[in-house]
């Protein structure tokens, strides 16, 4: 069975686990870097990106996450997870993992009272995806190899670059598991390529 890791330092971990299981894959909550070897793909969940970054540094996770990204295994970042994947964050000198060729802006839709739900057309996933945006970032600019999957009011809110998938919103907060299912398919494809 496909094993999907969910980085479990802070944030909406349980919801991702349930979504992965609903897609027929096994979910593993990753609290220690050694566990990364066990999984075929990794989800970086929503939460507070500054908090996650601090915990990543504290437990020496960063090099392991970068190695994981280089190993060819797929990664999926939602909201704060997208910020971790991006190679450029507006207002910051350094990226976090920095493997996806996108420029992101944090909290770019405003404060919590401006947080919202909207129906999205996500290319190759769903035409009517109910997306929950919470103090969400968005992709300001995407590199040439990045496939733009969805926009909201002209802003890029979901994108894929090869084995990296990122979105501004929280697919784990609804019962619609199609985007998680899309990621599980990405993992299956990458395993076939590896064979």
């Amino acid at each position: 069975m496909i094993k999907v890791g969910v980085l479990g330092l802070q944030g909406a971990v349980r919801e991702h686990v349930l979504s992965v299981e609903a897609c027929g894959a096994e979910a593993v909550v990753i609290k220690r870097k050694e566990q990364l070897d066990e999984v075929d793909g990794l989800i970086l969940p929503g939460g507070e990106s500054t908090t996650m970054r601090r915990l990543i540094d504290k437990y020496d996770f960063m090099d392991s996450l970068k190695e994981f990204a280089q190993s060819g295994k797929p990664m999926f970042g939602t909201c704060a997870g997208l910020i971790l994947l991006a190679n450029h964050i507006i207002g910051y000198d350094e990226p976090h993992i920095g493997v996806m060729d996108v420029r992101v802006e944090r909290n770019s839709f405003g404060r919590q009272r401006e947080s919202f739900e909207a129906d999205l057309d996500i290319a190759g996933v769903a035409e009517d995806f109910a997306a929950v945006f919470i103090r969400a970032p968005h992709i300001v600019e995407a590199g040439e190899n990045v496939e733009i999957l969805a926009k909201h009011n002209g802003r890029i809110v979901a994108a894929r670059e090869g084995r990296f998938l990122g979105c501004s919103f929280h697919p784990e907060l609804t019962d619609d598991h199609r985007l998680t299912g899309y990621f599980v398919e990405m993992i299956k494809e990458s395993k076939q390529l590896a064979i």
Partner: protein, 293 residues
Amino acid sequence: MKTGTDRVKRGMAEMQKGGVIMDVVNAEQAKIAEEAGAVAVMALERVPSDIRAAGGVARMADPRIMEEVMGAVSIPVMAKARIGHIVEARILEAMGVDYIDESEVLTPADEEYHLNKRDYTVPFVCGCRDLGEAARRIGEGASMLRTKGEPGTGNIVEAVRHIRKVNAQVRKVVGMNEDELMTEAKLLGAPYELLLEIKSLGRLPVVNFAAGGVATPADAALMMELGADGVFVGSGIFKSENPAKFARAIVEATTHYQDYKLIAELSKELGTPMKGIEISSLAPEARMQERGW
């Protein structure tokens, strides 16, 4: 496009899970909290132990403090309004505060009714000591709960009592037959539909943090061990000798609450925690947990 839906308001609290929310009274403390890895800060005029010491009526903080804190950090900023004080809550919402705590730490403005929190776009967190109180607050539209404990005491005993109570009552409801739930709703003073929802989910429908008396990293880990989704630390951090170190230690103990060797390491030479108050020495009217209905 819709703002202020249950999913958006409750979802915000979901993002805070496994984290620590810290009370701060100025921008400098807020930066220390953010740097230490807090998932949010609660902007206040005084921390609960100082509110206790000052006596008198405790109200919403000066909006300038909220403004200063919101300008200083990128993590969410929460603030407290008095129980039932519609206008304080509206002011906080208008200022763009990310979450409002309708809090028993402040002197209640209404001794009969809590706020109708469904009316607001901004989400609310409320205190509870048992499932009845928790369910009434959710019924009014709270998007997040926190067990009350006894704020400003540095004594964990009430926080333990409340998280155990709520979780034991949730387990009881989950294990009950559906035909027993109406009577249980009557006994708890809880909305019946909410008990049905708890039974079908197997848990509360909103995130529940622990609060009120967390003074050490081990206290924070204890709350997680007892099933809290995260921890509020009020007076504990900035009343300790070395707030930055203390704050980091509490964050790490919360993340790795079952890694006891690690918690031992982080607890070394932290300096003196806040002094603390024995609960039996508090007069009944000085117990903040009794506020709320």
